[in-house]
Symmetry: C2
Subunit: 232 residues, 2 copies
DNA sequence: AGGAATAATAAACGCTGTATATTTATTATA
DNA sequence: TATAATAAATATACAGCGTTTATTATTCCT
């Protein structure tokens, strides 16, 4: 093959092909084991050719992180669309289930975005933070809808501290158009879902919990009760 | 230096020194970036010398994992000992705080044991599972104590399913001398604490949550209420 | 005392990300 | 249309990695 191949011999959409091949490698070996040379080998090119599209391995990783957040956000959005006529409680449960299903389907993607950072990789936060917040959007929307329909006292929640209130207020002031309590609930519900899911895909549950999905289901339903989101 | 140095020129307790040096490397670069050659360089030996003590890099990693679980378990036990005269509610809160403090102090250890698995590493579960369960022991003990003092209805918890009950029963039959509900509460409280802590050390909280410790505090106190563990 | 076992090194292998120089094809410009 | 510039690819090289093998010197055991 000549150094610059004729157009007819070039791989069409090579940038996308590199990303797809990277995903296949990550799915098999994990994100930290992503090898530019393995990606190049699979595409029958040499590793330096990848630098025409991604200035460094970090840039490829960043693109993959944005991909993963988008994929999760899209999945959450689709789950919500399928249940647009359902009650917000059902929607909340469905979002939780969808989140877990997405993680179980793409465990390595999940670990890439929420797991241990890859050694020596530095995320450009101006790029990754917006993608990350998009993944939380559907959850926030559903909780805001619940809040709008009914905002009962939440006696099973410890009091909000002034420091916490200040943080949530600052977030509002930065443009998040939601009630403070909604923001808080979204964050803690997400942390709970995340905790369960991450322990599950990481095989961290003790051996006798053979079906962590059962724990997940009970916890999701318990969250509705514990945060007074179940309309009672 | 001659290939086999005299005893006087050998590094005493070299195995322990390798582990300590590995911890230092991990603390700086993360566990997945652990390099036998870097460890060897720091100790002024060559990398193959490490194979006298650890048959492979995996074996060193396994030893470090067991170290980390032990360190966490010891920290939890010490926290409990310091508050042996306190109420079990206070003990539970203290355990949660101690867990988070330990993770904040040793984030890379936390990621090693509960984060994304290291590429190509295979944990010997007969070795790592007992160490992992030891880290949960103090939490289980405190919840069992709470359960023994008072076992009120828990209306904010969704019903336990037969499948979940079967798993917990099997765990009991395997030798865990605790009530099923205690086991369940320990697992879910741990998952919640883990979720918050892992998001915190992974810098995953949205940017406006500048002090995740505030979220943690409110959630710990809310757990006492939500699982009817606060004596009311 | 002699042989076996052990603790270390040197050298080698096959892998990694990245940089550099070169080649060829395509595009832009005069 | 011809030339210069640009772009897409390769070959080569460098410095790093975990691991293996052979070798050497020291210690231990009989």
């Amino acid at each position: 093959m000549s150094p610059r191949p004729r157009r007819s011999a070039q791989i069409p959409h090579l940038q996308a092909a590199i990303q797809e091949t990277a995903w296949a490698q990550i799915a098999e070996f994990g994100a930290a084991a992503l090898s530019l040379r393995a990606v190049a080998r699979a595409l029958h090119i040499t590793a330096p050719a990848i630098y025409n599209y991604f200035p460094s391995r970090d840039d490829l990783v960043t693109a993959l992180i944005v991909d993963a957040f988008s994929s999760l956000a899209d999945s959450q959005q689709a789950a919500l669309s399928r249940l647009s006529a359902a009650s917000p409680q059902e929607q909340l449960v469905a979002l939780g289930m969808d989140y877990r299903q997405w993680a179980l389907r793409y465990p390595q993607r999940y670990q890439l975005i929420f797991g241990t950072p890859i050694p020596h990789y530095h995320a450009p936060e101006d790029v990754t933070n917006p993608a990350a917040s998009r993944a939380l959007l559907s959850l926030m929307q559903v909780i805001q809808r619940l809040y709008t329909i009914q905002n009962p006292p939440r006696p099973h929640l410890a009091p909000m501290t002034p420091a916490l209130e200040a943080m949530l207020t600052a977030w509002q002031s930065a443009g998040l158009p939601l009630e403070r309590e909604v923001i808080y609930l979204a964050v803690v519900i997400w942390s709970r879902v995340h905790g369960l899911v991450q322990l599950e895909i990481g095989r961290q549950f003790p051996p006798h919990i053979t079906d962590p999905g059962e724990v997940f289901q009970r916890e999701i339903r318990s969250m509705l009760i514990q945060y007074s989101l179940n309309g009672e």
